[in-house]
């Protein structure tokens, strides 16, 4: 999908918010592995995006984020690689296997030199935009709660399918659901009953 098309869809997104018990947030983590969108100030380095926009500490970045992929390519130098409008950034907290080690920053980066991200050109457009994020494995539980509280944009069909597959008990524990500002019954999201009215949804949680 083109950047302009995605931007249009984000502007038309329905808003869905769940009021949940804190422990229920973990049931939503797998939603984050396929990819979602966040509003961002683009035209900055990955390092600045992490620190200034995601609020991560340098220690956390160094110790917990083992795999960083910008538009599908391993990014080694976070202070050079630039996040442009519509970029896809995938983050992994664990990278096993020989191939996993090769994809990390480190001595085996040479093993995948032909697919390594190389920065060329200027910063491009700088200002309000969006970034597609994918959070994998350990980073789902680390970074997921805060991002879900702030709200993420996600393909409505993916969200509807995911919510529809959650067990009945999840919806029984859910305190309330707000769809485009109106309170609705949680049951309407079970077993694929919800048919989204737009391509994209802004999804957030409010643990009580």
């Amino acid at each position: 999908m083109e950047t302009t098309e995605i931007r249009e869809q984000l502007q038309k997104a329905v808003t869905l918010s769940l009021d949940l018990a804190e422990k229920q947030i973990a049931d939503l983590f797998l939603l984050l592995q396929k990819g979602f969108f966040v509003s961002a100030c683009v035209g900055c380095t990955i390092h600045d995006f992490f620190i200034e926009q995601l609020g991560l500490s340098p220690e956390y970045i160094q110790s917990r984020i083992q795999g960083i992929f910008l538009d599908g390519k391993p990014a080694d130098d976070l202070e050079i690689a630039i996040i442009r409008d519509g970029a896809r950034l995938t983050l992994s907290g664990t990278m096993p296997g020989l191939v996993g080690i090769a994809l990390r920053r480190g001595p085996l980066a040479v093993f995948r030199h032909s697919i390594t991200h190389r920065e060329a050109g200027d910063y491009g457009y700088s200002g309000e935009g969006f970034v597609q994020l994918k959070l994998l494995n350990l980073l789902m539980k680390d970074m997921g709660p805060e991002l879900l509280r702030k709200g993420i944009y996600i393909q409505s069909t993916d969200l509807a399918e995911y919510l529809g597959n959650l067990p009945t008990g999840f919806w029984q524990e859910c305190k309330s659901v707000s769809l485009d500002g109106a309170q609705v019954a949680p049951e309407m999201f079970q077993k694929g009953r919800w048919i989204p009215a737009s391509e994209m949804a802004k999804f957030s949680v409010a643990p009580g």
Binding site: L30, G93, T94, L98, V99, G106, P107, L108, I115
Partner: protein
């Protein structure tokens, strides 16, 4: 482990058992021992399924001790699949049990004159071999159920083949039972199960009742080093957190993201259904169904990267499918349903075939080395064939084997591949699981602890140089065997289309030259 059990299957009056001192092979274990015996005693040009080939089953040097992660077993022979030397490695309980019974190796030799099927039982009192044709064509799970009813289920461990091994199929595996006595761990690569089938042995039942844990020469140093080693493994994000939580299949999402995931018989490197079969989804599914997302394949494992996969009704279906199984039966076949993949994993284990060979027989492909080219160097040159574990034990920046490498220069791939193959061959000989690689890569104190465990066990000082020398020795034996079997540098090549056909989404080709590949074993 000062003796070798040799069983000659070719006697007219039945198999002949000879228990002999370890002799010239003293100090070797695991892969070092299997490769030493095969290289010295098996004619390189023999038929892999004939009487001259030998099947060598060897616990690692540290197996049977209290060293963490030391339950890996090596099974070696001339491979009916590659035509070269092979060591296939497996977890499960047999390595620890066989080591405690005092055997450095079991060697199956010769060829039975009849088509009878044999059962071998080994305990502290000795070895019993009997004909049991009622076992013919039994799948592994049924076979082990029968062994449990005969020998009890408390202390035994089994090494067995399924129908594929009896049929001498080149993809046949050898099953090793896990802690729950399930034949779920497999020496899968190279068709070793076909060689066991050619020897006429269906199952080896091991019982170490009455046998003690093996003792190191320096117990205090051993205990202290093991403690540091375990702390290093449990504190590392991969071995202490990622692998226990998600298993090796955590790689599915990552490889699909970078375009290196086998998909639709390698027509592409990213799979749209990756998130449906990812390690993250798999772990959640296992937990929700009452299975286990964290489970060790043998006692003494602290990483516990395996799991228990139940069906939708909560009944055991198979052990947690590994990354290679998931891509081979999943993405590469266009399947994005975990239950289907899990069922295929069970069927592979039950009939005794390697999941990678089976998945690829359907999809006709293998993990692609065009995106991560350094792995391609290893696939092309390893004496084990294109085995993903052949260059795994990454300790390059700790060992500095062959000097430092400039990570920015592509030429460094050859040197790093060489170092990885050396380190892997050495670790395969200790009985330790290759997944310790992550912790010893990043934490020098964990690497030192591993050296200290080996040193304390043998009562000698074991250094990084010792690791290097051991690895080189193993590789030299293996390369020598393959050269005698007719392999030349022309076999150290990837298929020609890897150099010419671009692989999407990055559209890269394999760029390491033949001249560079020929330098891998220059040391």
């Amino acid at each position: 482990m000062d003796k070798i059990l040799r069983i000659d299957m070719s006697g007219a009056g039945g198999p002949q058992v000879n228990e002999v001192p370890i002799g010239e092979y003293a100090g070797l274990g695991g892969r070092a021992l299997t490769s030493a015996i095969v290289s010295k005693e098996v004619p390189a040009t023999c038929h892999a399924l004939g009487s001259e080939n030998k099947l060598v089953i060897a616990p690692g040097l540290l197996s049977g001790t209290t060293a963490a992660m030391s339950g890996r077993i090596s099974i070696g022979c001339k491979s009916p699949l590659t035509g070269g030397i092979k060591e296939a490695n497996s977890g499960g309980q047999p390595s620890q049990v066989l080591a405690r019974l005092g055997y450095a190796a079991i060697v199956l030799e010769g060829k039975p004159p009849t088509d009878d099927l044999y059962k071998v039982f080994i305990n502290k009192d000795g070895v019993q071999i009997s004909i049991d044709n009622s076992l013919k064509m039994l799948p592994n799970y049924d076979l082990i159920d029968k062994m449990k009813s005969e020998y009890g289920d408390k202390k035994i461990a089994c090494i067995s083949i399924g129908p594929a091994g009896e049929m001498k199929m080149c993809s046949a595996s050898i099953a090793c039972t896990d802690m729950e006595l399930r034949p779920a761990r497999h020496a899968g690569r190279g068709g070793v199960g076909a060689v066991m089938g050619a020897k006429g042995v269906k199952v080896i039942v091991l019982d170490d009742t009455g046998m003690a844990m093996r003792s190191p020469k320096d117990p205090e140093k051993f205990k202290a080093a093991n403690k540091i080693f375990v702390e290093g493994l449990t504190s590392h994000p991969v071995t202490g957190e990622g692998l226990p939580a998600y298993g090796t299949n955590v790689l599915t999402n990552i490889l699909s993201e970078v375009g290196g995931y086998p998909t639709y018989n390698f027509k592409q490197g990213s799979f749209d259904g990756a998130s449906k079969i990812s390690g993250e989804t798999q772990a959640e599914t296992e937990t929700a169904r009452g299975g286990l997302a964290t489970h060790g394949c043998h006692r003494g494992c602290v990483i516990r990267c395996s799991g228990v996969y139940n069906d939708k009704d909560g009944h055991f279906l198979t052990k947690q499918p590994e990354y290679e199984t998931v891509w081979a039966h999943g993405g590469n076949c266009g399947i994005d349903d975990l239950d289907t993949i899990a069922m295929l994993d069970f069927l592979d284990d039950n009939y005794g075939v390697d999941t990678i060979e089976m998945g690829n027989a359907i999809a006709v492909a293998m993990e692609d080395p065009r995106a991560v080219q350094g792995i391609g160097v290893t696939y092309a040159t390893s004496p084990m064939g294109a085995d993903h574990t052949a260059g795994y034990a990454v300790a390059q920046n700790v060992l500095k084997v062959g000097g430092d490498v400039d990570a920015l220069k592509p030429e460094g791939q050859v040197e790093i591949s060489r170092n990885l193959q050396i380190a892997t061959a050495a670790i395969d000989s200790t009985g330790m699981c290759l997944f310790i690689a992550f912790a010893i890569l990043d934490q020098p104190e964990t690497f030192q602890a591993m050296l200290d465990i080996i040193g304390a066990y043998s009562g000698t000082e074991f250094t990084a140089d010792g690791v290097t020398e051991l690895g080189k020795k193993v590789l030299t034996m293996e390369r020598d065997f393959n050269a005698r079997a007719g392999f030349t540098k022309a076999h150290d090549r990837l298929p020609g289309y890897f150099k010419t056909e671009a692989f999407p989404p990055h559209n890269v080709t394999f760029g390491v030259t033949d001249e560079e590949l020929d330098k891998v074993f220059d040391w």
